[in-house]
């Protein structure tokens, strides 16, 4: 049985990378070197970095059987808060402020879910509305320019060994996320709480703090993503991040993490993010019209998951 389990797991884990490889091949065939150049492949990773960083935190939330719909609004609000209150203090302060703002929003979600016992969907839906409103209220509905924050804008402009900085940050966050989820006691407790709350409780695990923590975690990730975003846009806008929650959740779910909680894979999330980024990149290179793009996106998603299902 174990053997079988392993075999199945293998296929599961291998399916998505397969899809990714497939997409890369298609890209190489369709666009040749324009697609299959290190420059463009880094570019794909760059495009994945914001949603991807959020998805890492989202994986933890979903692992507990929760969900966070607010990430998109929080992405916008965090940068606006950071830009509005810490702009003068310089890049470092701005980043700290933005990440802190994200964490704070997450903490509120966490309290609502863990202690007020409000369904995650509803609690974070409330935050989805509120955070967007706050972003627009503070910013008076106009973007906050941050061109003067060199260190920040360098995130968008510079590269290390030819790798865009956001891509590097994303890779680091994924690696850390995988380590924490699979390698630490905390990660194991997160899975336990999601897999069988009652069992976790009678094993002496304090369930609520764990639940609370994952929302703070996704908040921090969103804050980081917000910094990456702002670094590239050189300004904080109250209208960014619309629909980000869907992108992030989709990447996690397509990666093989179960919305019911318990079963989760950070590697899967990583490839899930890549899949969406590649689809987007390909369709852009082919400069497909947006409406056709959407149709294709839908079809490709189904196709990708179908391929995955073959695993079973």
């Amino acid at each position: 049985m174990t053997l079988d389990a392993l075999r199945r797991m293998k296929v599961q884990e291998l399916a998505l990378p397969l899809v990714v490889v497939l997409l890369v091949v298609i890209g190489a065939v369709l666009k040749g070197t324009i697609f299959f150049s290190t420059a463009n492949l880094w570019n794909v990773l760059l495009q994945a970095s914001v949603a991807g960083t959020v998805a890492v935190g989202m994986t933890f939330v979903i692992a507990t059987g929760g969900i966070d719909l607010a990430v998109g609004s929080v992405l916008a609000a965090a940068a606006i808060v950071g830009g509005h209150y810490f702009h003068g203090a310089g890049s470092a302060w701005f980043m700290a402020g933005t990440i802190l703002a994200g964490a704070a929003a997450g903490a509120i979600n966490g309290i609502a879910v863990a202690w007020l016992r409000i369904v995650p969907f509803v609690a974070t839906l409330a935050m989805l509305a509120a955070a967007r409103g706050i972003a627009q209220q503070i910013s008076h509905q106009t973007p906050v320019g941050l061109y003067d924050l060199e260190a920040l804008t360098r995130i968008g402009s510079q590269r290390v060994l030819g790798i865009p900085i956001p891509a590097i940050v994303f890779l680091v966050v994924v690696a850390l996320g995988a380590l924490v989820l699979n390698g630490t006691r905390y990660g194991r407790y997160v899975v336990a709480v999601g897999g069988n709350r009652e069992a976790a409780r009678i094993a002496g695990i304090r369930v609520r703090p764990i639940v609370f923590s994952v929302y703070v975690l996704v908040g921090v990730c969103t804050g980081i993503a917000s910094v990456l975003q702002t670094g590239q846009l050189a300004s904080a806008s109250p209208v960014v991040g619309l629909g980000l929650e869907l992108d992030a959740i989709a990447a996690v779910v397509i990666g093989g993490t179960s919305l019911a909680g318990g079963r989760c894979t950070m590697l899967g999330t990583f490839f899930g993010v890549l899949t969406f980024a590649l689809i987007f990149n390909l369709l852009t290179l082919e400069n497909v019209e947006s409406q056709v793009q959407q149709i294709l996106r839908g079809v490709i998603i189904l196709g990708a998951v179908a391929v995955q299902r073959r695993g079973h």
Partner: protein
């Protein structure tokens, strides 16, 4: 002797029902203290209060002289209370070793010491006589019996002062029970106190030192010697004297209803063929893991099969279509209640009537009154406690949940009834009710196949007995002439069986 546990005036009130009404309990170092009582007597609730799983309404729990923080499992655990709960308490998504060390993982710095835990897990399992169980296997993939072993290993993974076991033997077979007892004796010898809950009174005589009897949440007797005769115990448990467990039955001589032809699902089930006549009760014995559940599931079309066919009243039942199997008159009461049998947040009525909605309703509509009438009757005949059909299934005791599942299939007018461990976790009194109802159904002409790990039940109640080993039927015995020893001998590969059944070919796993 030093007292490890002192429980005084423990009260637990659930909305609408008093589970415990002032229970006292003392457990001393090195003793095995047995808890017995009817289904719903309050045994599990009592031990859940001790282990911190549920906060008691009132009363004190002193462990080694210190008051225990109520409702904090962590506190009880660190105080040395290890508990095996009645409902399996594992995280299916985690590996065996992860489950064993859940809550007290071994670590190197901030990171998990996976190798160390894997090693220790294997060691613990070996102590329980199951070195073969892979510590990396996902618990979700394990069969019930193996899961039970995992939670046992987990209880032993901490240094224990008080070990609580809530019906640990329910899904174990004799050899595994022996292994369990060996471990228990080793622990008691080391001064560990043990609370042992079981409905199998013979076990209690073997392992127990003292016995406390609960009835309706009250202690009706304590400090009884282990030598107390089963009759006396039963008398105390159900409050009336009680005899004649198995009902009288006339020999079945109906015609063949269920035919199983060369049914196979490798590796769990080798080619199997047999027939069951109307009014006949066919017992299926064997060790846990012998593939009895698989046999039933294959017949009911719940698992894909490699080959063979199933006929009901001469008509072939299409493969792999449980709905058509049910339509053809095959009912199956599964082994795992919670996961396969029950809708926990439904009331009992809905749980019982789910298979009979067409019969009980008008056209596409359901008929609440009719459902309630039908269900209530069934539930009463099985003496489900508390007697309230509208109570949610999640609020029932383990044994009563079992009865609810049973009630569904007893209500459903099927031609063939496949029962997997129908009396598991059911108290002696209720067992008699279950036997009576099954006997009545047989008398009504149903063909009944009954998987059981209780040899007495097979020998005393069944007309014929198939014994399985490693996924194959290795013997067929006559109910009357069979003895528990014979069954056991076939189940454990002993010398070749005396009367090789013509219709059951030798296994080839």
């Amino acid at each position: 002797m030093t007292a490890i546990l002192e429980v005084r005036g423990l009260v637990k009130v659930f909305p609408g029902v008093t589970a415990l009404a002032g229970v006292d309990l003392d457990v001393e170092a090195g003793e095995v203290h047995c808890l017995v009582g009817q289904n719903g007597a309050g045994k599990s609730t009592l031990i859940k209060c001790v282990s911190g799983a549920t906060p008691p309404t009132a009363g004190t729990i002193r462990l080694l002289g210190h008051d225990l923080v109520a409702g904090r499992p962590g506190a009880a655990l660190s105080a040395g209370v290890a508990t095996m709960y009645q409902e399996l308490d594992l995280v299916p998504d985690l590996s065996v070793s992860a489950n064993i060390f859940l809550g007290h993982e071994r670590r190197i710095g901030p990171l998990l010491a996976r190798r160390a835990m894997r090693r220790d897990a294997t060691e613990l399992l070996a102590r329980l006589g199951h070195a073969t169980l892979d510590p990396d296997a996902q618990v979700a993939e394990l069969r019930p019996a193996d899961r039970q072993l995992v939670s046992m290993a987990r209880a032993l993974s901490r240094d224990v002062r008080l070990l609580i076991m809530d019906e640990p033997s329910a899904i174990l077979d004799p050899p595994e029970v022996d292994a369990l007892f060996a471990v228990v004796r080793r622990l008691t010898a080391a001064g560990v106190g043990v609370i042992y809950i079981s409905h199998r009174l013979d076990e209690i005589a073997r392992i127990g030192d003292r016995i406390t009897v609960l009835r309706d949440g009250k202690t009706v007797a304590s400090n009884l010697p282990a030598t107390t005769s089963p009759e006396q115990l039963v008398q105390r448990m159900i409050g009336r004297s009680f005899s004649e467990v198995f009902p009288e039955r006339s020999d079945p001589h109906g015609d063949v209803v269920l035919q199983v032809r060369r049914l196979a699902r490798r590796p769990d089930l080798a080619e199997t063929s047999f027939e069951v006549r109307s009014g006949e009760i066919l017992g299926v014995g064997g060790l846990v893991g012998a593939g009895r559940t698989e046999l039933l599931r294959a017949i009911a079309g719940l698992d894909p099969v490699d080959g063979g066919e199933v006929l009901v009243a001469g008509r072939v039942v299409p493969r792999g279509r449980p709905d058509l199997a049910v339509a053809a008159g095959i009912g199956v009461a599964p082994e795992e209640r919670k996961s396969q049998g029950l809708w926990l947040d439904w009331d009992q009525v809905h749980n019982v009537t789910i298979c009979d909605l067409p019969r009980l309703g008008r056209g596409p509509f359901t008929d609440a009154a009719a459902e309630h009438r039908a269900a209530a009757a069934q539930l009463r005949s099985l003496a489900v406690r508390p007697d309230d059909p509208l109570r949610l299934a999640s609020e029932l005791s383990g044994g009563n949940q079992q009865k609810v599942v049973l009630a569904r299939w007893l209500l459903h007018a099927s031609a063939v009834l496949l029962l997997d461990e129908p009396t598991r976790g059911v108290d002696v009194g209720a067992k008699a009710d279950v036997y009576r109802v099954i006997a009545e159904l047989a008398a009504r002409g149903l063909a009944i196949v009954m998987v059981s790990s209780e040899l007495a039940e097979l020998v005393g109640f069944c007309d014929r007995i198939l014994v399985m080993r490693e996924g194959a039927v290795v013997a067929e015995l006559r109910g009357g002439r069979a003895t528990e020893e014979m069954i056991l001998r076939h189940a454990l590969r002993a010398e070749p069986p005396p009367e090789p059944p013509p219709e059951s070919p030798r296994a080839s796993p």
